[in-house]
């Protein structure tokens, strides 16, 4: 029996481990750490290329095509350029916070990939509370962003940081609630089991859940219509105005890594992660992630930005109630069909989604928001 | 077609309403005295059959002996326009009452005249230089300004 005091000393800790424990765990840990790092870097480069080239073609222009064949080396050229840039630190800046901010912003994004299954069972840590871990870790980046905003002692970055904190706080709840719907149907929190439980992709069973999760996710990592944190037409570059060189590269990496992380989680939760016909399963996972990322690029090219108080109103008055209602409806359905929902639930859920969205958008009037000063 | 009102017609009305508001010989081109400028302007703006509610422009011309401030008004309702002018004498500190109270559009234009000609407008809410920086010496659009 292992008692508490055994953990007090390192020797006690080592003795408490099961005897055969060290043999296969270290290999597993080493392989997946390297795999995740390579996966994140490669996907971020692919994401940068897709975004710049896709947006270019959608705007009837070419996009990068000079560096390497079809401009494929452009992301590497960007990285090298940013690394060679001088590292400016504003004189009035709070130096330690300014230096630490990109680090705090970047490492949670890597942690998220620990629980994302590339293939059946192929993930670093098959946590039984996978999705709870993801929702928890993903809000740590806000601390880094706010440190950046505060540390660079620049009014624009302070505004950007404040907006980011406000947005992430209010979008955490719809994000979590829409995930609970999926968990109810899959019956387990572990991402691996969620994918195994997806005989019908959850995007069909949970259309409203998918809509809320995608919107809340985009708002949290400030992409597409909610990119207020670095709204370049209002507050120049938001929280990373005063960053250049290596630190800016880290923030640039965070922005795209978070987008890839969110698309990976959406693929796992809603699009049936690695499930697919004759292509190798991990390739299916990558294709689905890149497709979801392309939808983000697509919305970023088309939609104008939402104002900060409309962003809040959208979270509290639209997504939050809808997420609650979606939760109740899913719970009722799970009670009616305990061992997995049939196809008819798909039609019901889509009808419910349309009805709820139409009813709920009645409450929104246009043209408010002026404070009488 | 915006009918440019001939000066004679208006001059008669103004003369009866405000005797002695015109400078000598100022009837044909509506040359108003500086101190009766506001009454004439208010009259032109509020009179129901005149209703000159839109100020086209306010500008100044330097004729060495005096600065001539020219106002052009248009009545959007009756589609009529009129030009009247005043003169600010003195080179070092000419002053002129400000019409910003009647037409807010004159705000920046009077600041510009103050900035480039040096004609101070009394009653202007925020009379500061508009184009040149605070410490600039002199007023460039004057004829005797030599850079």
């Amino acid at each position: 029996m292992i008692t508490w005091q055994d953990f007090s000393t390192p020797v006690g800790l080592y003795k408490a481990l099961p005897p055969d424990w060290p043999v296969n765990y270290w290999w597993h840990f080493a392989f997946f750490t390297v795999a995740i790092l390579v996966f994140v870097i490669a996907m971020v480069l692919a994401a940068i290329y897709i975004e710049r080239r896709g947006m270019g073609r959608m705007q009837s222009r070419l996009g990068p095509n000079r560096t390497g064949p079809f401009g494929l080396l452009q992301p590497i050229a960007d990285a090298v350029k940013v690394l060679l840039k001088e590292n400016l630190v504003p004189a009035m800046a709070d130096k330690p916070i300014h230096w630490l901010a990109p680090v705090i912003a970047f490492f949670p994004v890597l942690l998220i990939f620990a629980v994302v299954p590339f293939q059946n069972g192929a993930l670093l840590a098959d946590l039984s509370i996978g999705i709870l871990y993801v929702v928890a870790i993903s809000s740590v980046t806000t601390v880094g962003v706010f440190m950046a905003g505060w540390g660079s002692s620049n009014k624009y970055s302070l505004l950007g940081a404040m907006r980011n904190v406000a947005a992430v706080v209010s979008y955490e709840i719809p994000l979590a609630l829409s995930v609970v719907g999926v968990v109810l149907i899959a019956g387990s929190l572990s991402l691996n089991d969620i994918v195994l439980g997806q005989h019908i992709p959850f995007i069909l069973l949970q259309p409203l859940g998918f809509l809320i999760f995608f919107t809340a996710g985009c708002a949290e990592i400030n992409r597409s219509p909610f990119d207020l944190m670095e709204a370049d037409s209002e507050i120049v570059a938001g929280f990373h105005t005063e960053y250049s060189g290596m630190k800016f590269a880290m923030f640039y990496l965070v922005e795209y890594a978070e987008a890839i992380a969110l698309s990976a989680i959406i693929t796992t939760l809603f699009l049936g992660g690695w499930k697919g016909w004759w292509l190798p399963p991990w390739l299916w996972f990558i294709i689905k992630t890149l497709v979801v990322f392309f939808v983000m690029v697509w919305t970023r090219t088309t939609l104008p930005r939402v104002r900060i108080d409309q962003l809040m109103a959208l979270a509290w008055k639209f997504l939050f109630p809808l997420a609650l209602l979606n939760l109740f409806i899913t719970a009722a359905q799970v009670l009616v069909w305990p061992d997995g929902l049939p196809w008819v639930a798909v039609i019901i859920n889509i009808a419910v989604m349309v009805a709820l969205v139409v009813i709920w958008s009645r409450f929104f009037k246009v043209g408010w928001g002026r404070v009488n000063v | 077609m915006t009918v440019a009102l001939p000066a004679g017609e208006i001059a008669g009305k103004l003369e009866t309403k405000f005797p002695g508001c015109f400078e000598e010989g100022g009837k044909d081109n509506l040359l108003v005295k500086a101190d009766s400028l506001l009454d004439v302007a208010a009259f032109l703006k509020d009179q129901p059959d005149l209703k000159f509610d839109y100020l086209n422009y306010v500008t100044a011309v330097d004729y060495y002996a005096y600065f001539e401030i020219v106002y052009q008004l248009t009545s959007l309702e009756h589609n009529r326009s009129i030009v009247f002018r005043t003169r600010a004498y003195g080179r070092d500190n000419p002053t002129m009452p400000s019409v910003t109270g009647l037409w807010r559009g004159a705000d920046f234009q009077e600041r510009e005249i103050f900035d480039l000609f040096g004609v101070a407008f009394t009653g202007h809410p925020n009379l500061k230089r508009i184009f040149l920086w605070e410490g600039f010496q002199g007023h460039p659009l004057r004829k005797d300004w030599n850079g």
Partner: protein
């Protein structure tokens, strides 16, 4: 906020995705040059010493005072002889008023736009550099007779720019 329940946004998305199937309207500048208009006002002046009578109308018409002309009288046939004719293309705004004002058609505007220089001094053109040579074409601005020597202008409205020349 959702007056039409998101349909407006979906319409907008349709337009952007359809643009993926269209040709991009940009062209690769160094290897694909679009032809400028035949009346293009290039950033150099072409001056023929024979036709020029030294009347300096062009210098007077230039709003920037970029043309500097020094003439001396030739006692033999009582005419002006132009000693130096210098144009500072740094001051020149390519407005073409000199070409219009010249009564003897002695000065034309050039047709090239790739005359950037590294030194401020090199921008000044002296009299003999401004002779018309086969590669230095004169623009058809105010002289329609030069038009047929110049290439036809590529209009974007005519075609989506194909790849290659």
């Amino acid at each position: 906020m959702f007056e039409r329940y998101g349909l407006g946004m979906i319409k907008g998305m349709m337009v952007t995705i359809l643009h993926l199937l269209r040709h991009p309207t940009v062209s690769q500048y160094p290897d694909q040059c679009l032809n400028m208009s035949r009346r293009f006002r290039g950033n150099e002046l072409i001056w023929s010493r024979e036709k020029c009578t030294g009347c300096a109308t062009c210098a007077k018409a230039c709003p920037q005072g970029a043309i500097e002309i020094v003439t001396a009288t030739v006692p033999a046939d009582n005419k002006y002889e132009v000693q130096t004719y210098r144009v500072d293309t740094g001051y020149c705004i390519q407005c073409g008023l000199c070409v219009e004002a010249c009564p003897f058609d002695a000065v034309y505007l050039g047709y090239s736009y790739e005359r950037a220089k590294y030194r401020r001094g090199e921008v000044i053109q002296n009299d003999d550099e401004m002779k018309e040579t086969p590669d230095k074409l004169a623009s058809a601005y105010y002289h329609p007779e030069f038009a047929d020597k110049l290439p036809v202008q590529t209009l974007l409205v005519d075609k989506i720019v194909e790849k290659g020349k």
